[in-house]
């Protein structure tokens, strides 16, 4: 694998929520991650694992109750956490863009879609409203919307779910970002639509030399669509590896358990296993150092007190954070 300067570097990112009833929940704990230019990375975890919060942290769109307690985020070398609000506004959309889960609610319901794309273009350097409008139509055509010039005048509610997600992609791609984050972008869509949307993202990423961060709970989807998969459990990154390798040679007990719980074409009921227990309450005072501790069948006292080191494989591609890896 060619050694490229990473596009995005996240180091030891820790993030906490202030809880309404007092106290704090440690939502992300020392998370480190790189994304290379043009790489497709999947961040996989169960609901509540902190994967969506991570995406919002990258964009600095966290709400007021969230606080980044440690770590750094750099995109193309630029320190995101210390960038001015104005600079952040420039970076959003232009350097890193995101597609959210629910296209039906993520589009401004009362603006014509062409105009929404034009708004993004105008926010990112386009000066002429006419040109913006023309490029908006082009964008729509690019994401595969038939009769784009006419459809540009449609309102979101006049479009089907798949079309809306296409429009969302067009919006995200409008300012040619370097990194596209797809946050559960296909959850809730039919499998056929999901395949179509993923094809489109893949296609566009390739055409625009864009890196993608696919945030999902669906390991199968991640494995099919991404170069590399990072697995997150209760705010801790437990393992990251090239997709095929992760599926076949997972080293973290959690990754393994996740794999045996995921039904796929080859599954039978007999070889499906649920993961025992639940992810720990991140607001608890006595969180074990390894948050998978309570659910793990390989746990020792060590796991409770000492945070596992991230150990990399010889080529650095397979990283696992476990005292007792498989």
């Amino acid at each position: 694998m060619p050694v490229l300067a990473p596009l995005l570097t996240v180091r030891r990112l820790s993030l906490a929520f202030a809880l309404p009833q007092g106290g704090r929940a440690s939502v992300l704990d020392g998370l480190s991650l790189d994304i290379a230019p043009q790489e497709a990375l999947a961040l996989v975890g169960e609901s509540g694992s902190g994967k969506s919060v991570f995406a919002l942290a990258l964009l600095r769109l966290l709400d007021r109750h969230a606080e980044i307690t440690d770590g750094e985020i750099r995109i193309e070398g630029e320190d995101l956490l210390h960038a001015s609000d104005k600079r952040m506004q420039d970076l959003r959309g232009k350097t890193l863009a995101i597609i959210f889960q629910n296209p039906a609610s993520s589009l401004n319901p009362i603006r014509r879609i062409g105009r929404q794309i034009a708004d993004v273009l105008l926010a990112h350097g386009e000066r002429s409203a006419d040109a913006a409008r023309r490029r908006a139509v082009q964008m729509l055509a690019r994401v595969g919307i038939q009769d784009a010039a006419r459809r540009a005048n449609a309102y979101p509610f006049e479009l089907s779910g798949g079309m809306k997600q296409r429009v969302m992609i067009a919006l995200a791609l409008a300012a040619s970002p370097r990194l596209l984050i797809a946050d559960e972008a296909t959850t809730g869509l039919d499998v056929t639509t999901q395949a179509m949307v993923m094809d489109l993202i893949h296609e566009q990423a390739r055409a625009n030399n864009m890196a993608t961060l696919l945030i999902t709970h669906d390991l199968a989807l991640a494995a099919e669509r991404c170069d590399r998969i990072a697995v997150i459990h209760a705010g801790q990154l437990v393992e990251s590896a090239p997709a095929a390798r992760l599926l076949t040679a997972a080293r973290h007990p959690y990754t393994r358990a996740l794999l045996t719980a995921t039904p796929h074409a080859g599954s039978t009921l007999a070889n499906l296993r649920a993961i025992p227990g639940q992810a720990p309450d991140t607001a608890a005072a006595d969180l074990p150092a390894c948050r998978y501790y309570a659910r793990c069948d390989r746990r020792t006292e060590l796991c409770k007190s000492l945070p596992p080191m991230q150990t990399a494989s010889s080529n650095g591609a397979h990283v696992v954070a476990c005292h007792h890896p498989l």
């Binding site: 499998v191 040679a249 080859g266 009921l269 397979h318």
Partner: protein, 276 residues
């Protein structure tokens, strides 16, 4: 094979005037005693509507419905609550959280059908409730909790407990695991399979997730635009789909890379995922 449930020529339209559209457009369904039937389709295909009609929670426009040989389709859904077969046909909903009265404890919710339909009282009732919840694998300390105090997986189990409390002969499940994490889903699937086996319940499992249907059911019906486009044993349909729509559905599923051919680079880390 004994036929338990049979529906013929089911039709159901929604909307008025020019917006009138058939969500179910001439569907025949037969469910055998103790069978696990899968109903697959995309959103808007009419599969959930069929589920509601089968559970007699929704009136159909046309067609006849026989349960245990008895015509039950003539009785309107509004009056279904008083019918003797009510206890025999139960349903589990997709949104387990929304399916529980937020004010009641889990055990009270589970007790409701027992009190209303089997008229259990006192110890017998408590016993039946706890038995159902135990069967569904819910830990005893959770029985007295309110729905919002439970996790999604626990709620799903509670929902199943309520549905099986009456020992129904037909259980309709409308995407019961769609909102759950895979880590929990597997457990629920095992549970359902055990229950079907132990209680000899027929199940109709409505879902868009073909991988889930495949592991649980023996027979599958694929729906598109209110019609059944393909029907057959799970293995056959998935291995060699006959209808182009089924083909498309299967093709859209994420590919799971085969385990063969990838060397394990780190010693001692080998993990055989598919230990056939």
């Amino acid at each position: 094979m004994t036929v338990l449930f049979q529906a013929r020529g089911l039709r159901k339209a929604f909307g008025n005037g020019e917006h009138r559209r058939y969500a179910v457009d001439g569907v025949d369904i037969t469910v055998a005693e103790g069978e696990a039937l899968a109903l697959a389709g995309e959103s808007g295909s009419g599969k959930s509507t069929i589920g509601l009609i089968m559970a007699r929670l929704l009136d159909h426009d046309e067609g006849e419905i026989l349960f245990d040989g008895q015509e039950i389709g003539k009785c309107s859904a509004r009056r279904a609550a008083q019918q003797p077969w009510r206890a025999q046909i139960q349903m589990v909903f997709q949104d387990a959280g929304g399916a529980f009265d937020p004010r009641l404890s889990i055990s009270d919710s589970v007790a409701l059908p027992l009190r209303r339909l089997s008229h259990s009282r006192g110890n017998a009732l408590t016993h039946a409730v706890e038995d159902a919840l135990d069967r569904a694998g819910l830990a005893g300390h959770l029985f007295r909790r309110k729905p919002h105090e439970l996790s999604g997986g626990q709620l799903a189990r509670a929902g199943i407990a309520r549905a099986i409390a009456l020992r129904p002969r037909l259980l309709i499940l409308d995407e019961p695991t769609a909102a759950l994490d895979v880590s929990v889903q597997a457990g629920i699937l095992h549970l359902l399979n055990e229950l079907r086996r132990d209680l000899n319940m027929a199940m109709v499992f409505v879902s868009h997730d073909l991988n889930v249907l495949r592991v649980l059911c023996s027979r599958v019906m694929v729906m598109e635009h209110g019609n059944i486009v393909e029907e057959g044993p799970v293995g056959r349909v998935f291995a060699s789909p006959a209808h182009p729509f089924t083909t498309r559905l299967l093709a859209a599923l994420p590919k799971w890379p085969r385990s063969e051919g990838l060397p394990h680079q780190l010693p001692g880390s080998a993990l055989i995922i598919h230990s056939q």
